[in-house]
């Protein structure tokens, strides 16, 4: 579904933060992206969620050459991608509920559908009581769960998550992983940047490893559902 060939990327006039990146993401695959801080994980994800264009190389996106995709077509592609930002990027003046509802509103969904859907998902991530709270009054872990709910509410074709379990306890981390694995089962392609070695091993999915802008690939199996850790819907 997505392929990178010799992709390089730089910020402005700086040196390359990614160089000669080559990999493929099959439809419905599940990958971890690991690497030390500053390795270029966030930069690679920015390419994946179409916030930046590469400075060289070839990217195919949903089987189209990204270089040939007009700017006007990008919003439609972006609506098929869910993103969990490392720093959450919630809208501060909107409640948790309204933040999660945004992707549905952008898609043009009906008000009633939105309400049911958002409530259900927020309950599922354990935020039923905090639904109408502003991000400023939420803890780091709570914000992270709102961000994840916002990323998955649309059942995206591609889910990109940047350290999505960095601020929650191990039990909640597993619960959120379960959510990603469930989403993957219904066909969503998933890429999760993480430096939680234990979590990566528990799921057992293939790993893309970045170091100083260079990538190595480690094969893995089908993602294992960490169900037993307690994920009652």
């Amino acid at each position: 579904m997505i392929s990178f060939e010799n992709v390089g990327m730089r910020y402005g006039m700086g040196g390359e933060v990614l160089s000669d990146i080559t990999f493929r993401l099959e439809r419905g695959s599940f990958h971890f992206l690991v690497g030390p801080s500053g390795a270029g994980k966030t930069s690679l994800l920015k390419l994946l969620y179409l916030a930046r264009r590469p400075s060289r190389g070839l990217i195919h996106f949903f089987d189209k050459d990204l270089a040939r995709i007009e700017r006007e077509e990008l919003p439609r592609l972006r609506r098929r991608i869910g993103v969990v930002f490392q720093d959450f990027r919630l809208l501060d003046h909107l409640s948790a509920f309204d933040n999660v509802a945004l992707p549905l509103q952008i898609k043009g969904a009906k008000r009633v559908q939105i309400a049911d859907h958002v409530e259900e998902l927020l309950s599922w991530v354990g935020l039923k009581d905090r639904m109408h709270a502003r991000p400023a009054t939420l803890s780091g872990g709570e914000k992270q769960r709102v961000a994840i709910a916002r990323a998955v509410i649309n059942k995206p074709d591609l889910l990109v998550a940047d350290e999505p379990t960095g601020n929650v306890d191990p039990e909640m981390a597993m619960r959120l992983m379960h959510l990603f694995v469930e989403l993957n089962k219904i066909g969503t392609t998933i890429v999760i940047a993480s430096h939680d070695q234990h979590l990566v091993e528990t799921i057992g999915a293939p790993v893309l490893s970045l170091d100083k802008g260079n990538m190595t690939y480690h094969a893995g199996g089908k993602p294992r559902d960490p169900d037993e850790t307690g994920a009652q819907p």
Binding site: Y49, L50, A51, R52, R53, R71, L74, P75, R76, L77, R78, R79, R80, I81, V83, R89, L91, H93, L94, D98, A101, L102, P103, Q105, I106, K107
Partner: protein
């Protein structure tokens, strides 16, 4: 808030107008000034039309001669000749008292029989403007009565017309300057607003919101700023003009009243807030779209 005309778009900007709270006030002041200038321009035009139309259908004939007997005879001849001229509706001698009233501002109040040789004035009304060849008429008048001079008001009307044209140009210039500064202010305000909401805009953009959807949130906001500020300013301008009209009426000064806009003009001023709304909205739209194009 969703205006039907914009469709249902997500509200992603804070409701409080952080950053551009001053904008409606500035637009209000601008529209106040525009309102006054526009009203004056329109009134000048209206007054001038009324007034020059009146002048174009009247002529004045002066009979100047120191000897009262000669003057009376020449007046008779001139009247006869004028009344026989086709296109002349009416030719009448103005009463001495009226003539004195006309010249009293220059000479002070004089008794009518002060012995001063007052010129005889004949007031001529035409059927319609331009029906009589004034140059030909002047010549025939002089042939009929040696002391007769025809005044068709052209000379001084031309200079007044010039003055009024200059005034209107000046007012137009003022309005143009105000519109330009308003656009500049809206651009600055909009940029500041964009900076304040940069993060929200970027997030919406990355979630796949179309540029048009993001821009329309600003459109709405700036349309409202323009309408509300504009309406405030124009209402103030109308109140000021009404107050002036009232004062002028009390003073009974015909000239002052004539140079103030009639109340019919005031209704037209209510169009200005709509224009202000359109201008602010258009400016905001262009500014926001430009900024969005900087995102991938």
């Amino acid at each position: 808030m969703n205006l039907p005309f914009f469709g249902e778009t997500p509200v992603f900007l804070p409701k409080d107008q952080a950053g551009d709270g001053l904008l409606p006030w500035v637009i209000g002041v601008m529209l106040f000034l525009t309102g006054l200038a526009t009203a004056m321009g329109l009134a000048l035009g209206q007054g001038l039309d009324r007034w020059s139309e009146g002048l174009a259908t009247t002529l004045t004939v002066q009979i100047v001669d120191a000897d009262e007997g000669v003057r009376a005879r020449q007046t008779e001849d001139a009247l006869k000749m004028l009344r026989a001229t086709p296109g002349v509706a009416k030719a009448e001698v103005m009463a001495d008292a009226d003539v004195m009233a006309l010249i009293s501002p220059w000479l002070g109040d004089l008794p009518i029989d002060a012995g001063l040789p007052v010129p005889t004035l004949i007031h001529v009304e035409l059927d319609k403007a331009g029906v009589v060849n004034t140059a030909g008429l002047a010549e025939r008048l002089r042939a009929t009565a040696k002391g007769a001079r025809l005044d068709d008001h052209q000379a001084w009307m031309a200079s007044i017309l010039e003055l009024v044209a200059a005034l209107r140009l000046l007012l137009l210039g003022i309005v143009a300057l105000i519109v330009l500064s308003t656009v500049a202010i809206v651009i600055f305000g909009c940029r500041a607003g964009l900076a304040t909401h940069r993060d929200s805009i970027e997030i919406m953009h990355m979630m796949g919101a179309e540029d048009s959807m993001i821009a329309s949130a600003f459109d709405r906001r700036y349309l409202l700023h323009g309408l509300v500020g504009g309406l405030g300013g124009i209402v103030m301008a109308i109140l000021v003009i009404l107050a002036l009209l009232h004062l002028a009426e009390q003073m009974g000064q015909g000239l002052l009243t004539a140079s103030l806009p009639g109340s019919g003009v005031l209704w037209w001023l209510l169009l200005l807030p709509v224009i202000a709304g359109a201008v602010t909205m258009g400016t905001a739209r262009i500014t926001v779209r430009r900024a969005l194009l900087e995102l991938v």
